[in-house]
């Protein structure tokens, strides 16, 4: 069992909004959870934004891409942890995904790739690809289309922690 304490992660003045844990076995066989979780979280944290509907629509789209990426990750038994924090107009999403070294590499490498100068073109290539959809698409989309800031950290060799900072609504307080 991996059980990393997210509380130990620095939060830079971010205020926690919502947090949950989910057994990876549940996540492994329930695709619809991606949709449920993104719709639920988006609705929960959008009510006090200037335009709650627009905010929730965009947040749901981005969260769903993240959850789908996690779904497509070969996970180890343990707790998937999700946490959402907010500071001003920045929403921070942190996720701990229990997984082995290969999958850690997937996240670390993709987060590197999205910083490449050619990342925009790469995103479009993935988006309109004729082949089966590459699972990097979600992270590329967040970085390119939503200008999200992302980082990934390996937690020993048992999990990866992904942090995504998103600004969906400019000027929100």
């Amino acid at each position: 069992m991996t059980d990393f304490q997210m509380d130990s992660l620095p939060d830079d003045g971010f205020r926690p909004l919502l947090e949950f844990d989910l057994d990876t076995t549940v996540l492994n066989d329930q695709w619809v959870y991606c949709d449920f979780m993104s719709s639920f979280v988006a609705n929960m944290v959008s009510h006090n934004r200037a335009d709650p509907f627009m905010f929730s629509n965009l947040l749901s789209a981005t969260l769903n891409e993240l959850f789908e990426t996690v779904y497509r990750t070969r996970k180890e038994a343990g707790q998937f942890r999700f946490r959402m924090l907010r500071k001003g107009s920045v929403d921070r999403i942190t996720m701990v995904v229990p997984c082995g070294r290969d999958e850690q590499q997937f996240y670390l490498k993709t987060v590197e790739e999205i910083r490449d100068p050619g990342a925009s073109d790469k995103y479009l290539e993935l988006l309109f690809s004729d082949d089966e959809l590459d699972r990097r698409i979600g992270l590329f989309e967040l970085a390119i289309s939503y200008k999200a800031q992302m980082s990934a950290v390996a937690l020993e060799d048992k999990a990866v922690c992904l942090t995504v900072d998103l600004v969906i609504e400019q000027g929100a307080d």
Partner: protein
């Protein structure tokens, strides 16, 4: 938050207009799950001639699996049918769509992508203009004096869940909130400047129970049967097809709940002295609106519109806002803003000549004269009507 959460999608084809419509939420795990939809899209596009439209205005969500599938079919159609012009109509209200479909257009310039809400409604640019804000504010101050009593006769009560559609600058929603202590108010409009203003006012007055939402009244993303009381004031008149808005008001109203509309008949604005000039000008106002496909004469038609939309227990009454209600200057101010909007923007846009515009303005000036005259009387009649959605 009152937002429709949909985990399923629908599609359909209107052969007449060659419009393929997708609605709901498409988040398949594998593209094969939406094969039926993609096959239908392909088949419809193949037999189309000339223009082929794909309407995603109510496609609330789509993951990349679905988007990639849709894009592939559309790219294939463009390759196979160089004679067909594909246009995607999306709504600026559904935030994710412009991001992705504009990327598709950049990839395949032959695919046209339009945000339909911009030029869809006649006169949209007039009523979404931020200068319109001041007219709305003064109007509401004057109508509220009457309506706060009238509303009670139309079923308004405490503790309700209310929607104010085409809320303008949101002042009516705030007044409702203070007067009737609702559990929740959602106020929707399509003018961003007005909504910004509305949110600012709500903050100033420390009201947190009103949610201002950007949306299109003809295709709202609010859930079915949600609200006890739905209001739509002075707005059916800005649409060329008010019945479309009414069917949306009907849809979001709870069975047993009521929809309340208020409308004008501008040609019945009146004043003394100088009645004839005033009368002439307001008759011209009605024609001017008609030229832009809007009906400022809708007031007395409200009963029929509500019945045709399926409502029952229709209640209807009219009231007259006059220069005697409060400060006559207020009345004069409203007429001044009408004069600016109708004579300076709309008549000019129609291409009217100077002589006409001069005469047209004269009637407004005379209405102001009547309002401020120590023995004068000036009026602006309004019809309110409400109906119950059957159980």
């Amino acid at each position: 938050m009152a937002v429709a959460v949909s985990t399923s999608y629908e599609f359909g084809y209107d052969e007449n207009d060659q419009v393929f419509t997708l609605a709901g939420s498409m988040r398949p795990k594998d593209v094969s799950e939406i094969d039926a939809c993609l096959d239908a899209l392909r088949a419809c596009a193949r037999q189309a001639s000339g223009m082929f439209y794909v309407n995603v205005r109510r496609l609330l969500q789509s993951n990349n699996v679905a988007f990639n599938g849709l894009a592939s079919v559309l790219m294939q159609v463009c390759r196979e049918r160089p004679d067909v012009n594909v246009t995607i109509t999306m709504s600026s209200v559904v935030g994710w769509t412009p991001r992705k479909f504009n990327a598709l257009r950049r990839k395949i310039p032959r695919i046209d992508v339009v945000e339909y809400d911009k030029d869809f409604y006649p006169g949209q640019s007039f009523v979404e203009d931020s200068s319109f804000v001041s007219v709305l504010r003064k109007q509401t101050t004057m109508t509220w004096r009457h309506e706060k009593h009238i509303l009670l006769r139309h079923g308004m009560g405490e503790g309700m869940k209310i929607a104010d559609i085409c809320c303008g600058i949101g002042d009516f929603a705030l007044l409702l909130f203070r007067e009737f202590n609702p559990t929740y108010v959602v106020a929707l409009d399509h003018a961003k400047a007005s909504l910004d203003y509305a949110r600012k006012m709500a903050r100033e007055f420390n009201v947190t129970g009103v949610e201002y939402v950007y949306g299109d009244a003809a295709e709202m993303l609010l859930p079915n049967g949600e609200f006890d009381f739905v209001t739509c004031r002075h707005s059916l008149q800005v649409f060329d097809r008010p019945e479309r808005i009414l069917s949306e008001l009907f849809r979001i109203c709870k069975p047993g709940g009521r929809v309340y509309v208020s409308n004008e008949k501008n040609s019945h604005c009146l004043g003394e002295p100088r009645a004839d000039s005033i009368q002439w000008t307001y008759n011209e106002v009605a024609k001017l609106w008609k030229y832009f496909n809007m009906d400022i004469e809708i007031g007395p038609k409200s009963r029929r519109l509500l019945l045709d939309a399926g409502f029952e227990d229709i209640r209807m009454e009219s009231f007259m806002v006059t220069n005697l209600d409060g400060d006559p200057e207020e009345f004069a101010d409203v007429v001044r803003t009408w004069k600016d909007m109708f004579a300076d923007s709309m008549a000019k846009e129609r291409g009217d000549d100077d002589a006409f515009i001069r005469k047209f303005k004269k009637g407004f000036d005379d209405h102001i004269f009547a309002a401020l005259h120590p023995k004068g009387y000036a009026g602006w009649p309004i019809w309110v009507a409400s109906g119950r959605r059957p159980l």
